[in-house]
């Protein structure tokens, strides 16, 4: 039985699943339910400065994108940081941590970009016994208009500055939560590292409008006929999050910086993927908000089972295993040549591969009057679109050609040796072979 106990920045938790700072972690009641359900840790809903709490809208805070049968694929929110008094949150955090010493409890913080503000709140957070803090530099809506959240996260210099203050006034681990609403996530990550951050967590939510009401022409979610961009999350954002995580994991400037992975983690498989791309743990929100805390049973059992199958005994053995395989396009092997192959026994003759290839790709699939679809090797560039649109999993596969065979498309012999764009004759910048 694999051991799911995770040590992230010296913070131990019985499994790598933390609840992200969000509505599920807004108060003691919810967090206790989460811990009772088996969650490894929580990042408490973001705290603001002492004083009158923020207010939220009194209409819809969420909008959604659905798949078939109303399966929620993406969620958008315009909720702000906690709208409860700081003191109440701190008291509750202290009580919960005392009762659940084996679980991770992280305080998320967002206060104005002034040293005094951070200096004021950090000791009070420390008193709660929280295991660490997460700096919310990511929220893309509302607070960013007041110079906080993503407004900080989009300026690497601010990230570095605030991180420094936190390391100065706080002794426990500091995690910097990054916004994806930037062009190159490596820059804010490097800034966090330079400021002394112990880790980064990403991604926060993505600027989004879920839909437009075509009767009222109001964006959704609509507040009295108007809408504001919200933060997008859920399964739909996972590919973006995976890419951003991988960029940080493989960049020489940030390689080795611990990462807490966030973005659409819905099943154990998503978690395993994030971990393999370098995350020491993962944070979950939308899946819990969609299905409730009980999903932790599948998340832990699934990860454990997969690790057993693969012979991994500890989560740390999986961390970063996929990172060496993430590379730049220019280093991909251009001598790797594959051809689509259709398994006629599995084919149900829907013709989607044909339509896709004929209309939008390389005219590399033939169709007979009795609906037999076959790949024309002379035309197939192995783009994979037919595989992607085929409704039958495993019906169409990409079969690599062996070295020595002649590619019927180009008439050239498949080479055994690896060769990439950097040395390709068509590349004006190609280095001469030495």
């Amino acid at each position: 039985m694999a051991n799911l106990t995770t040590d992230f920045l010296g913070i131990s938790s019985p499994n790598p699943y933390w609840l992200a700072s969000a509505p599920p972690t807004d108060k003691e009641y919810n967090v206790r339910r989460a811990f009772e359900a088996g969650w490894g840790g929580v990042v408490w809903k973001t705290l603001g400065s002492e004083g009158p709490p923020v207010v939220n809208v009194n209409g819809p805070r969420y909008g959604a994108i659905y798949g078939a049968d109303r399966r929620l694929l993406g969620l958008n929110n315009i909720e702000l940081i906690t709208d409860r008094p700081l003191e109440v949150n701190l008291e509750e955090m202290a009580r919960v941590k005392a009762d659940y010493p084996d679980r991770a409890l992280i305080a998320s913080i967002m206060v104005p970009c002034e040293e005094e503000a951070w200096k004021a709140i950090l000791p009070r957070v420390e008193e709660t016994g929280a295991d660490g803090i997460e700096l919310n530099f990511g929220c893309p809506h509302g607070m960013s208009e007041r110079g906080m959240g993503a407004a900080v996260g989009q300026v690497p210099e601010y990230i570095e500055m605030v991180t420094r203050w936190c390391k100065k006034y706080y002794d426990r681990p500091v995690i910097v939560k990054l916004t994806p609403n930037i062009t190159d996530v490596r820059k804010p990550a490097a800034a966090a590292k330079n400021g002394g951050a112990d880790a980064v967590s990403l991604i926060n939510t993505i600027n989004s409008i879920t839909s437009v009401n075509l009767d009222t022409f109001s964006p959704e979610p609509s507040i009295d006929g108007k809408g504001s961009h919200g933060g997008y999350c859920g399964p739909a954002v996972k590919p973006i999050a995976l890419s951003m995580v991988s960029e940080i994991a493989r960049d020489p400037d940030t390689h080795g910086l611990p990462i807490s992975g966030i973005g659409g983690v819905t099943t154990w498989r998503d978690a395993a993927e994030f971990i393999s791309l370098g995350c020491g743990n993962v944070q979950v929100c939308t899946a819990a908000m969609t299905y409730g805390f009980k999903i932790i049973d599948e998340l832990t059992a699934g990860l454990s089972e997969w690790m057993d199958e693969k012979g991994y005994s500890n989560v740390s053995e999986v961390v970063g295993r996929a990172v060496p395989n993430v590379t730049d396009w220019q280093y991909l092997n251009l001598n790797y040549i594959a051809k689509a192959k259709i398994d006629q026994d599995q084919c149900i003759k829907c013709g989607r591969c044909y339509a896709a290839c004929e209309d939008t790709s390389h005219q590399a699939i033939s169709m007979t009057p009795d609906r037999v679809f076959e790949v024309i090797d002379e035309e197939c560039v192995a783009c994979n679109l037919c595989v992607d649109v085929c409704p039958v999993e495993g019906c169409i596969s990409m079969v690599p050609m062996d070295a020595g065979e002649v590619d019927p498309r180009t008439g050239t012999v498949v080479q055994k040796e690896y060769a990439n764009w950097t040395t390709h004759p068509n590349n004006p910048m190609a280095k001469a072979a030495e």
Binding site: D69, R70, I348, K349, C350, G351, R352, M367, P391, V392
Partner: protein
């Protein structure tokens, strides 16, 4: 007080009104919007989709399903009705399991096709609920066409001709239009008087007059029609029924299944409709299944379908056979009637086992007796009352091309004409296509 299933003889009121109402409610409840969205999402939008090929009216099924997915069921309805003006009825009565849904690639893949029939009903119901007719007439041409018979073929032909600007008079023998949609087909497939509602809706196109009580060969003649109209379309169906050549076939309690079905369809109160305690239906087609299931739903205790060949040879699809079986109908195969016994009224039917040798069916000599106070004959309908001078092919009016008969200016379609299966949807296609051919002839 209901008489109960075990009351002897052919009696009415075997079941309570509540039971009858429940029994004759929709066989398939209509899809709710969310159900329709989920069902529609299963469509793969196949290239050159096999379901379209399998549909006698060539409805663009993937397109209308995509329109449902995209939240526009009325646009989907229009896509259907452009090809098949009786798409609402066809959605209810088509044997989809042998047509579009059999061809659906998901049937091949997992034995669970996209529910095309129910989705079609969802779309057409939604459109028809608006009460508005979706098509407009072209400017009036001044040409007139006589359509003989207000069944599916006649209605489809008339609608298309009217849409193209011609004036149409439909001559119908029966008091109500609709043909088998009104007088045949299973009641539990066409609830709430849908057949008449559909005809009323169809007539909103304008330019169509219906004359009921108009009988070809009696009140009207083909020659007279040819003189008074620019074209004639014959859609007279199969008005005759095959005779049962068995000893005792004349006994009380023996009748044609189509008449029984018509009585059920026209009954104002099913509690007043008599049915036997022990019903035997002779035949193996959809009519046999309909009559058998209806008998059961009316409260008959034992209902048996007796068919002379094997199950695979039955005209009723496997789905229809299972429908009968699930209602408690017993299906006996490889038996043929030899005699109906009883003192004046039928009491028993004597069936002889059959065997097939070199494709030829013959009795084995071994017989079995089954209690039968009511015997319903569903052994096929025949052409009756076809005007003289028309070339026949077998027992149907011979047609070539889009319903052209041997007489110039006279077209025919539906069950009375050659070509295609005897289905509502086939009749619609033939009526529509003949209309296009008539139009091309009239305007050339």
């Amino acid at each position: 007080m209901a008489q109960g299933q075990m009351a002897p003889g052919i009696v009415s009121g075997r079941l309570s009104s509540d039971e009858l109402t429940s029994n004759f409610s929709d066989l398939h409840a209509p899809l709710a919007p969310h159900e329709a969205a989920v069902a529609a999402d299963r469509c793969y939008f196949c290239y050159d989709a096999p379901c379209i090929t399998a549909c006698p009216t060539d409805i663009d099924i993937p397109l209308f399903i995509r329109q449902i997915q995209a939240g526009q069921p009325q646009a989907a309805g229009r896509t259907i009705l452009e090809q098949n003006i009786l798409g609402g009825m066809c959605a209810r009565v088509c044997p989809t399991e042998t047509l579009c849904e059999e061809a659906c690639v998901r049937e091949a893949a997992e034995g669970k096709p996209v529910e095309i029939g129910r989705l079609q009903r969802f779309a057409t119901d939604d459109l028809m609920a608006t009460g508005e007719h979706p098509f407009e007439r072209a400017p009036v041409t001044g040409k007139t066409v006589a359509v003989i018979g207000a069944g599916p073929a006649g209605l489809a032909c008339a609608h298309r001709l009217a849409m193209l600007g011609h004036d149409v008079v439909i001559h119908e023998t029966k008091p109500k239009p609709g043909g088998l949609n009104e007088y045949g087909i299973a009641a539990y497939k066409s609830t709430n008087d849908f057949a008449q509602a559909e005809v009323d809706w169809l007539l909103k196109i304008g330019g169509i007059a219906i004359e009921t009580g108009s009988v070809l060969g009696e009140t009207i003649s083909l020659q007279g029609l040819q003189e008074n109209y620019d074209a004639v379309f014959l859609s007279i169906g199969l008005a005759g029924v095959n005779a049962l050549r068995s000893q005792g076939a004349e006994k009380e309690g023996v009748r044609h299944a189509v008449d029984f079905i018509s009585d059920v369809r026209q009954a104002s109160d099913l509690a007043h409709l008599p049915v036997g305690r022990n019903v035997v239906v002779i035949g193996g087609g959809m009519t046999a299944v309909d009559a058998a299931v209806k008998s059961k739903l009316l409260g008959a205790e034992h209902v048996t379908i007796a068919y002379r060949r094997g199950r695979d040879a039955m005209g009723a699809s496997r789905y229809e056979q299972d429908l009968a079986a699930s209602h408690g109908v017993r299906i006996m195969t490889n038996v043929q009637p030899v005699a109906i016994h009883g003192n004046g009224a039928a009491a028993e039917i004597e069936l002889e086992y059959t065997a097939s040798q070199d494709g030829k069916l013959s009795g084995t000599g071994e017989t079995i007796r089954v209690q039968a106070d009511q015997v319903l004959k569903a052994i096929g309908q025949t052409l009756e009352g076809a005007p003289e001078g028309l070339t026949l092919d077998g027992n149907k009016i011979a047609v070539s091309g889009a319903g052209r008969t041997s007489i110039s200016g006279v077209w025919a379609g539906g069950d009375c004409a050659t070509g295609g299966e005897d289905l509502t949807v086939t009749a619609v296609a033939e009526g529509r296509d003949a209309a296009m051919d008539i139009h091309a002839t009239l305007v050339s």
